[in-house]
């Protein structure tokens, strides 16, 4: 295959010989400092809830001590008694079991009615969850027909520019998945149908407090907030 590589690169170089330069635009986001962005940044939680709900996603807000109760309530609303829990949330397993939920790790995702994972970020402008691979998060957020995501509010970012800036700070894992609402298709006669391959229902539980996190970890977006 070296022949192909050399040939293609050689053809590219020959193709571009003498063509005048066009500079790469700066990386600074176009929305930096604009009223549009400031408006989002000022009310991250409200905007996030609005854009997520517009997609048919159900959003709950709670504090960490009540998280197991809220999750159990969501499961009851889904009529589910079994979950696949990703490893980052395994400390919730016991509390959930006490509420009568059958809890398995990501290995039960193929057959579980609900998958619960943490999310690394949320994007307010689009109502997006960001889930990074590892701990079974890929399969738990994909295989079951319902996905429940737990997202600390201090992980909300205004827009995609902010997201890629954050994500780009460290080496990327094998998969970073941006989830914006349920799986859907309009392929057949432009009729919108959820739950084609991925989950047809998505719940987001926002955590108002930030457990296990020291002040120095807080993202800039909420500096100075209580």
């Amino acid at each position: 295959m070296t022949d192909a590589r050399a040939q293609i690169l050689g053809q590219i170089r020959a193709a571009l010989r003498g063509v005048p330069e066009v500079a790469l635009p700066p990386a600074e986001p176009l929305l930096e400092g604009t009223p549009y962005r400031a408006a989002i940044a000022r009310s991250l939680v409200d905007r996030f809830i609005r854009t997520a709900e517009a997609l048919g996603v159900q959003v709950r807000r709670t504090r960490s001590p009540e998280l197991p109760t809220v999750l159990a309530e969501v499961l009851r609303a889904c009529g589910a008694e079994r979950v696949a829990l990703s490893e980052d949330l395994k400390e919730l397993a016991d509390a959930l079991r006490e509420m009568g939920v059958e809890v398995g790790g990501p290995e039960v995702a193929p057959g579980a009615p609900v998958g619960i994972t943490g999310a690394e970020f949320g994007v307010a402008e689009t109502g997006t969850l960001v889930v990074r691979s590892g701990g079974g998060r890929r399969t738990a957020s994909l295989l079951p027909p319902v996905h429940v995501a737990v997202l600390p509010e201090d992980r909300l970012l205004p827009d995609l520019d902010a997201l890629f800036e954050r994500v780009g700070r460290s080496p990327l894992p094998s998969a970073v998945t941006l989830i914006t609402g349920p799986s859907r298709t309009a392929d057949i006669e432009q009729t919108l149908t959820p739950g084609v391959h991925g989950p047809g229902k998505v719940y987001i539980v926002l955590l108002e407090d930030t457990p296990n996190r020291t002040p120095s970890d807080r993202p800039e977006s909420l500096k100075g907030s209580p």
Partner: protein, 466 residues
Amino acid sequence: MTEGPLPFEEASVRALANGRLQEALRRAMTGLRTKRAEATSELPHFEALRDRAKQIKTHTLLHLDRYLEQLEAQVTACGGTVHWARDAEEACRIVVEICRRYGARRVVKSKSMLTEEIELNRALQQAGVEVMETDLGEFVVQLDGDRPSHLIAPIIHKRREEVARLFARHLGTPPDAPVELLTQAARAYLRERFLTADVGITGANFLVAETGTVVLVENEGNARLSTTMPRVHIALAGIEKVIPRLGDLGVFLPLLVRSATGQRLSSYVSLITGPGRQEGEGPEAFHLVLVDNRRTEILADGELRESLQCIRCGACLNVCPVYEKVGGHAYGWVYAGPIGAVLTPQLLGLERAAELPYASSLCGACLEVCPVRIDIPRMLVRLRWRTVARGIARPSERVAMRLVFWILASARLYRIASRLGRLVQRIAFGDRPIRRLPGILGAWTRTRDFPQLPPKTFRDRFRRRP
């Protein structure tokens, strides 16, 4: 792929006679246009985004070798393998060879125009590998032995009843099942495939050079499944798909998705960087196949290079009045609509696709919406110039146009032709409306009267002014 010239003319007539297709196209295109307008007007900086995207793409193409090398280095550093394919045949050979190496018997595929371009499925099937399309529209197309007719909505031309009949035959669903049932049936059928496939094959919406990342944009989740469950992930992409930085996605994703479907963001955007072994989930091997297939030729062509900037959003199809009437199949190949009329002649050759550059009224709606501002109308005209320069135009047309030119290039001949035309009109039509004309003008008079030449031209009358 059929050999010989692509039959736009006859296909368009058939499409126009198909009332249900007309209705489906009208409804779908109107809906997509409206959604795009709403989604793009939400962003105050949308025009600036387009400018920036155009500049990023132009710059990237001018340094394509450097960015491809950077991409390759990054992918390799993350544990992936990069392959280079000069043409369709080589690309297929590489993929078949990878499948053989892993003893793969079953492949799941998510939607990729490039894989249709290189006819990958046929190559895999010939090598004894079962290939399953998993995008719902592509799955339907595969079951039916049909072809997709739109860049992002493959079965815009099919009615629910047709799909229901198809699924009844292949999946055992009730004969007139509603959309929800059909969707769930496909989900269950394909889920089993995902869980047992050896290899997942995808395209790539973007390749990020800085990080070695493949970006997959979708709504259904089949690309996620194809890149999570099987042991091996193979991504194929044209060399023009590379963008420099991760941050550039902040420009391209809003442009792509809002232009394509009017969503703020598609349900899933997957950033895939290398295989997933370390995290205990995801494929153990990741292969990226970079495909040329005449793209370097286009790159060398200063007049048409811009067409490589296309991010495959489909917005030009959605606003094109010609596409709305004829649908995607009329364009005869993988790429339909305005961008198809520019790409197909370059990828398949002008001789085979000579009709396509002329299949446009040059209204400019495509340029108006293209997120990267590709000047499609200008490129269509340039392709027309090449058609004539290469002698592809019909001899009768050349003669006629030469005559027109002589008349217009000389004030004297123009005057003579002016008088002659009036004489002929008087003899042939007298004062009657012109309802039948010979030759190609007969195509006009079939449904339209032709204007009459008044006795005196403007210049005759102007000269006589007091």
